[in-house]
């Protein structure tokens, strides 16, 4: 078990270090998400008082789209220089590789969400009643998206059409997370946290199930690429 954790940390550390060096998430994905929020404002006309009401939904759409890019990037890294074979040969436990990658994507997305949310609260003029719920639901939602995304990342790995296939594969699957995160955030903004409880449960169940699926499926999926 300890070995799994240390291998997981090794893989996550590698991915995060690559991000620190290449700054793809900070310099490309974050501005993209910010631009999406801006575009929503163009589409929905800020003067009609609509934006604060729909802010959670728009935020999570933007985050989901950013998540697609983050997952895609996490697997694009392994396409260089035969790194995927290198990982197979390394003797690392595939479960550790999966968990490490999912962890790295989760952390990057959480950082992105923090900045994006701050920006959104300012742009859309939103007030927050319950910050704890906001953070909890964001954490669960992100973990779920990263877990499912990492499985599909492996499924689509090495395919020429990965960029267009991954969204089609991943978005329907994370629909429940989208629902849950939006409703939970609405409850957090409006100050009715008890309404969010079933949604928190849905997201937790989703995250657990898909993490388990990933741990089991990643090994076989890595082989015979």
């Amino acid at each position: 078990m300890r070995r799994l954790v240390s291998e997981l940390a090794l893989v996550a550390g590698k991915d995060l270090r690559i991000e620190a060096r290449s700054r793809v998430t900070t310099n490309q994905v974050l501005p993209f998400a910010g631009m999406v929020l801006l575009l929503f404002a163009f589409a929905l006309d800020p003067d009609r008082g609509l934006l604060p009401r729909v802010a959670p939904g728009l935020f999570w759409v933007a985050t989901l789209l950013a998540g697609l890019l983050a997952v895609s990037r996490a697997f694009a890294i392994e396409g260089e220089n035969g790194a995927r074979d290198g990982l197979r040969l390394s003797g690392l436990d595939p479960a550790a590789v999966y968990l490490g990658k999912a962890a790295s994507v989760t952390l990057q997305l959480l950082a992105l969400e923090a900045v994006l949310a701050a920006g959104m609260f300012l742009l859309y003029d939103v007030e927050v009643a319950n910050v704890g719920l906001l953070v909890l639901s964001a954490g669960l939602a992100t973990a779920g998206v990263a877990a499912a995304g990492s499985v599909y990342g492996a499924l689509a790995a090495g395919l020429r059409v990965r960029e267009t296939l991954l969204p089609l594969l991943l978005l329907p699957v994370v629909a429940p997370v989208m629902l849950g995160a939006t409703r939970a955030w609405e409850a957090a903004l409006s100050g009715a946290p008890s309404e969010a409880w079933p949604w928190v449960q849905v997201m937790a169940v989703f995250a657990v199930i898909y993490t388990a699926l990933g741990v089991v499926a990643f090994g076989p999926l890595m082989e015979e690429s």
Partner: protein, 214 residues
């Protein structure tokens, strides 16, 4: 017979290698040398015949011995955005070796001064040395080298030959696939010729000691 997916790339390979042996695989292009090395590394599934590597069954357990095998192939298995040192440390620690091993290997392959240069910016010759470094940093029992001399300059070749000699001396098993027949023949104990997916030329294996066989 060995079939790669539905692609018959190897057939009629009958090979026995004892632990501690150094073997040269020679033959023309397309003979299946690379495929055989990848098969032994457990990367490619064995779909006909039987095989054992380091005591583990190739057909069933091909993931289990990967930590003890190192393959030097055409790719470097490195990440473009990480430095030479970071890449080596990652591969060393993935194989369960401490960072210090990686740093020592970095010096040994002559990349000490490029330690903090990103992989992306290394020259082709430096990348080949780094790939060799990855193999050495893993401190594996079985080394599989596919055309290791290709892309190395003269000092690099010296380092490579030294590494092969050291591996032999420390009891590791080395299988080298190469066109550099003169150079490698001097280093190894025997030669196996491959052609059209077949291999011939095995020594009789002693019953003692671990058997690395296909």
């Amino acid at each position: 017979m060995t079939v790669l997916g539905r692609f018959p790339a190897l057939s009629g390979v009958d090979l026995d290698v004892m632990e501690g042996d150094a073997v040269l695989l020679s033959g023309p292009n397309g003979a299946g040398k690379s495929t055989l090395l990848r098969l032994i590394a457990g990367l490619v599934p064995l779909t006909g015949g039987e095989g054992q590597v380091l005591g583990r069954d190739l057909a069933r357990d091909r993931r289990s011995f990967r930590a003890e095998v190192a393959l030097l192939g055409h790719d470097t298995f490195c990440y473009d955005d990480l430095t030479a040192a970071e890449n080596l440390r990652f591969h060393a620690r993935a194989a369960g070796r401490p960072k210090a091993v990686a740093d020592a290997v970095l010096e040994r392959v002559g990349l000490g001064r490029s330690a903090n240069v990103a992989h992306r910016l290394l020259s082709a010759g430096q990348k080949r040395r780094l790939a060799l470094g990855v193999v050495l940093a893993r401190e594996a029992r079985l080394l599989l080298l596919d055309e290791p001399h290709a892309g190395l300059d003269a000092p690099g070749r010296e380092i490579l030959d030294g590494a092969i000699a050291d591996a032999k001396a420390s009891g590791r098993t080395v299988i080298v696939a190469s066109h550099e027949l003169e150079q490698v023949r001097a280093l190894v104990g025997r030669e196996v010729v491959m052609a059209g997916g077949h291999a011939s030329g095995g020594l009789v294996a002693e019953p003692d000691g671990d058997l690395v066989g296909v």
